[in-house]
Amino acid sequence: MVGWAIALHGGAGDIPIDLPEERRIPREIALRHCLDLGVSALKSGKPPLDVAELVVRELENHPDFNAGKGSVLTTQGTVEMEASIMEGKTKRCGAVSGLTTVVNPISLARLVMEKTPHIYLAFDAAEAFARAHGVETVDSSHFITPENVARLKQAKEFNRVQLDYTAPTPPKELENCGDSQIGTVGCVAVDSAGNLASATSTGGYVNKMVGRIGDTPVIGAGTYANHLCAVSATGKGEEIIRGTVARDVAALMDYKGLSLTEAAAYVVDQSVPRGSCGLVAVSAKGEVTMPFNTTGMFRACATEDGYSEIAIWPNN
């Protein structure tokens, strides 16, 4: 008899070990809160698809993670959000990109999955679809936080400095652009019947080109779920796309017979460069794993047998 399991992340990247308390503690509290929400939902018998969605909604609403409110900004100072969701049993999926006013991108992705014959809608048309379905929208200024305005300024400065300096590395104070608001948010869940689901959402890459799409809405890159496992990845989108990260975890289990932990570790070690990626994954057997090859990854997980963990840096 296997039990339920849930794992969630708030982004993997170069999270400095000396992250000030006022930046660390609110995020830890948020991770705890989201984990508790997800666990109660699973305990009350909610399907994993619903659980993954509700946890990601909560993370989107929290301004300290790079999704929904708190999304990083494009090079023009705007917000362009994207998300995807996938149900393991049926492999139904939904994805959205280029959202600017939809409060919860993950829910729009779910709507695309359930209310259209398509999988992926983007930009103006996705926004129009949201309105046509009465989905909650707000003025896009809602998503923009002062921290992210500052981050964008820093990133532009860093780019300018990179061009101006002949020295290979820029001054220390400009090195940590995008510090702890990197990556993405995501949640994977499995119930005791082995039903799996994955959901991922993001604002993307700070100072990204307008129209840039990352790994988050690309099924098989940032999100994947089938009958074996559910995976949500975070990190440098371009590397996660090339590495088809989320799909590869499941493919290694399927084609090479690796366990969830082995498959996830392999992908994070071998399929993507050092410092570019982390993921959370659960298996149909109720196992959970959260590997990353970056300095840190905001993460939390729990399993029915009572195990739970909330962490940022490696455990050792």
């Binding site: 990109s97 992926y120 080109m209 129209g211 840039r212 799409i213 098989g220 796309i241 090339r242």
Partner: protein, 325 residues
């Protein structure tokens, strides 16, 4: 084994009642494109360059559903997407929502080579195109009379389906020649994908792949299919290059292109076995096809749909252009 190899496709899922002249036109276009690629390969042009130049030719010709001749959105406009991947370092580039760029595959290549990103879409992609100085045309350029007619039929088929909940036999204008074969849940005479693609392995054993399309006839604006999604419609690694076509949603769920390489990498299958495996086991109820080359100079086509417009050639002189099984 070894040597170069190339394959091209013009879509999986062909109307069995397709008039003979149209079949002939298709075969001629596929042959012409193959020959273009062969000449380039014989002059040592790299795989990625060959993929791009062949797909440009397919986009420019109005016959298939890419570039000029693309399927129309529900509003009668064209929105194109494409992706390209270089197996050597698994570099990739993709674009969606393209409305004025004459050759989307070349824009995808520029995203790969000249931007810090892998995937650009809609107005951001169009802006990038202008900054790169690629050839820009009006959206009308891509619209053909054939497709305007098809859109009308598609809207009628949709409304019949919606109102009567019966299989779309005998929709207006197609009554005499309709077949019960469906693609994307709708009559194949209207919804045949005709996405285009090319895969190449060059004399150095480098693999590359590319795919380009106008998408689904009568699609919602902003709908993105499998063609620009790395791992779904296009994939290339050190071992192989793959381009898929067919029911977009089925291809995405199956991560079809990636899986060909994955079964070779993780199960040790050869190219033919890998293609057979994914077509048989990964598509569930969906219909699709793909072309693939391996770094050993092999070329394979596979499909579970009713036919696929395709052509392939290898350095040892083999050449074949076909539509049916």
């Amino acid at each position: 084994m070894g040597g170069w190899a190339i394959a091209v496709h013009g879509g999986a899922g062909v109307d069995p009642n397709l008039p003979a002249e149209r079949q002939e036109e298709a075969k001629q276009l596929l042959t012409r494109c193959l020959n273009l690629g062969i000449v380039a390969l014989r002059s040592n042009v790299s795989a990625i360059d060959v993929v791009e130049l062949v797909i440009r030719e397919l986009e420019t010709d109005p016959l298939f559903n890419s570039g000029r001749g693309s399927a129309l959105t529900e509003k009668g406009t064209v929105e194109m997407e494409a992706s390209i991947m270089d197996g050597t370092k698994r570099r990739c580039g993709a674009v969606s929502g393209i409305t004025t760029v004459k050759n989307p595959i070349s824009l995808a290549r520029l995203v790969m080579d000249k931007s810090p990103h892998s995937y650009l879409a809609f107005s951001g992609a169009e802006d990038f195109a202008r900054k790169q100085g690629v050839e820009i045309v009006d959206n009308d350029y891509f619209v053909t009379d054939d497709n305007v007619g098809m859109l009308k039929l598609a809207k009628e088929a949709n409304s019949i389906l919606f109102d009567y909940r019966i299989p779309p036999m005998g929709c207006a204008g197609a009554a005499a020649t309709d077949s019960p074969i469906q693609m994307n849940g709708l009559p194949i005479s209207i919804y045949a994908p005709e996405t285009v693609g090319c895969v190449v392995v060059d004399g150095e054993g480098r693999c590359a792949a590319g795919t380009s399309t106008g998408g689904l006839m009568n699609k919602m604006m902003g709908r993105i299919g499998d063609s620009p999604l790395i791992g779904a419609g296009t994939y290339a690694s050190e071992l192989c290059g793959v381009s898929c076509t067919g029911e977009g949603e089925a291809i995405i769920r199956a991560t079809l292109a990636r899986d060909v390489s994955a079964v070779m990498e993780y199960k040790g299958l050869n190219l033919q076995e890998a293609v057979d495996y994914v077509i048989k086991h990964r598509l569930d109820e969906g219909f699709a096809g793909l072309i693939a080359v391996s770094n050993k100079g092999e070329v394979v086509c596979g499909f579970n749909s009713n036919g696929m417009f395709r052509g392939c050639a290898t350095e040892d002189g083999f050449m074949e252009v076909a539509i049916w099984e």
